[in-house]
Amino acid sequence: MPPIISVSNLSKTYASGFCALKNINLDIRAGEILALLGPNGAGKTTLIGIICGIVNPSEGRVSVEGHDIVKDYRVTRSMIGLVPQELTTDAFESVWSAVTFSRRLFGRRDDPALIERILRDLSLFDKRNSEIRTLSGGMKRRILIAKALSHEPRILFLDEPTAGVDIELRKDMWQIVASLRASGVTIILTTHYIEEAEAIADRIGIIDKGELILVEDKTVLMQKLGKKQLIVHLREKLEALPSNLAVYDLVLAEDGRSLTYTYTTGHDGRSVMALLEDIAAAAIEFSDITTRESRLEDIFVQLVRQRK
């Protein structure tokens, strides 16, 4: 299947001369959830801005279902919903009229039943007649989501949708994301909560200093770069590693009370068994075994740190 969004050789240099994106190439698959991760100022919002028509690209091109975002902007923008990073809402409008306005802006016929359903899903329906300025920050975030969904986009960009949002709303949000994905909507999101990306994304893209340093299926990424650790807690203090254990990449703790074995997640686990057998053969008694798995967060930190 051809990609739903295709970004090729995209660069952005702001008027200040700052180069925020450097030659980005990225294909986004229809129906997937792609999480874009990257430190502050990496260029995530800039990339989203270009695809949505808010930022002018300096070089390169983007197409959405084969339509160029500059030449065929009407077609491409009709397909895209955007929840911006900043909480930017009108102050004096009511929730209902603000969301209705968004739908009209995208050229869609009024559909009060749909707007009601969206507001109910976001627990905003009770507030539909309130002026937006009287609502809390989390409510305003919901309004931005409702506005983005009002025109039934097939592609949804969520730029840090969970920043400053409580646990309840965060759960609601992922519920909505999951049901949108189930209905075939392609979702691109950015977040600094990496465990979120780990939980819901199909693919992970990592941007750093304007460069896309990696795009990979989440499971592949975790297998390739994820590490596991097996920690063997010893009954008695060990002074040095016995020779039959030298073949393993083992670290003896300073206090001599534990052994740590590090291996990759993709491993079949046979060596773990061999290790335990060899420990037993060396007549080392252990009281407990614990394991640790590196999270996406560790991988992310490691990748970004490597480039510093």
Binding site: S78, T89, R109
Partner: protein, 253 residues
């Protein structure tokens, strides 16, 4: 053509006016009445007639023009400046909306407001002095053309301005002086010849003169020149707006 979007912007902008009824309608009416009392009653008692028109009536077209120009600019510039300032512009930029449609929505609403305002001021003035309009069709045409042109100018200013103060600069330093000096309250024919010639470089003279002609059938400058100047101004504004959008000037980064 995304007519739904044009309508949505138009309705949104008109709703904003209704919310701020006091400052958008009532305050211009009050200030016009004040001008009327000061100029009409105080000075009018000394100058009885200009070109055979009672002074009180003579200043009505100029007063309407003054309000029309300042209010068109104020409304349209604020209408587009505010989304830029608050950040809600992101939605307009990410919508399937051409610049023509955005202009139609914003400028259309600003011009509508000014036209309504102009008519309200006309009605208010007619409470003070009897007014007859010799060429009502031309009167409306000038009213509409001027409202549209200066709403466009306001739109341009709103896009150009990156700080609140800049919204005030052009109206305060340019439009208000040009209007006062453009014969709102006098006929430029009473000026010494040198100053009269200088005044002819003031484009607002042509607007006021033409508008006054539609009321009384008498003008300071040729009516053809007035119409020509009005269209020229409209055309220049359209070109500027078009260039701004083509380059994403101060809307897109």
């Amino acid at each position: 053509m995304n007519f739904r979007a044009v309508r949505a912007i138009y309705i949104f902008e008109m709703a904003r006016t209704l919310r701020t009824l006091l400052q958008s309608i009532i305050s211009p009416v009050i200030s016009t009445s004040l001008y009327f009392v000061v100029f009409g009653a105080a000075i009018g008692s000394r100058i009885s007639e200009i070109d055979g028109v009672k002074y009180g009536a003579f200043i009505v077209p100029g007063l309407i023009m003054l309000m029309l120009l300042t209010q068109s600019i104020a409304n349209a510039s604020f209408g587009i400046f505010f989304p830029k300032f608050s950040g809600t512009i992101y939605e307009l930029l990410s919508a399937p909306l051409s610049f023509v449609e955005m202009v139609l929505g914003f400028v259309g609403a600003a011009a509508t407001k000014s036209i309504i305002l102009g008519l309200i001021i006309l009605a208010t003035a007619s409470l003070f002095v009897p007014i007859t309009i010799v060429h009502p069709i031309f009167m409306l045409a000038f009213l509409i053309l001027t409202a549209v042109s200066f709403s466009l100018l306001g739109f341009i200013i709103g896009i150009w301005a990156d700080r609140f103060e800049k919204l005030q600069v052009v109206p305060l330093l340019l439009i208000t002086p040009l209007t006062f000096l453009g014969g709102s309250f006098y006929s430029i024919n009473i000026l010494p010849p040198v100053w009269r010639t200088v005044t002819l470089f003031n484009p607002v003279v042509y607007l006021i003169s033409g508008f006054r002609w539609s009321f009384f059938g008498k003008a300071d400058v040729n009516i053809g020149a007035s119409l020509g100047a009005t269209f020229l101004f409209l055309f220049v504004c359209l070109i500027v707006v078009w260039r701004m959008f083509a380059t994403g000037y101060r809307l897109k980064v």
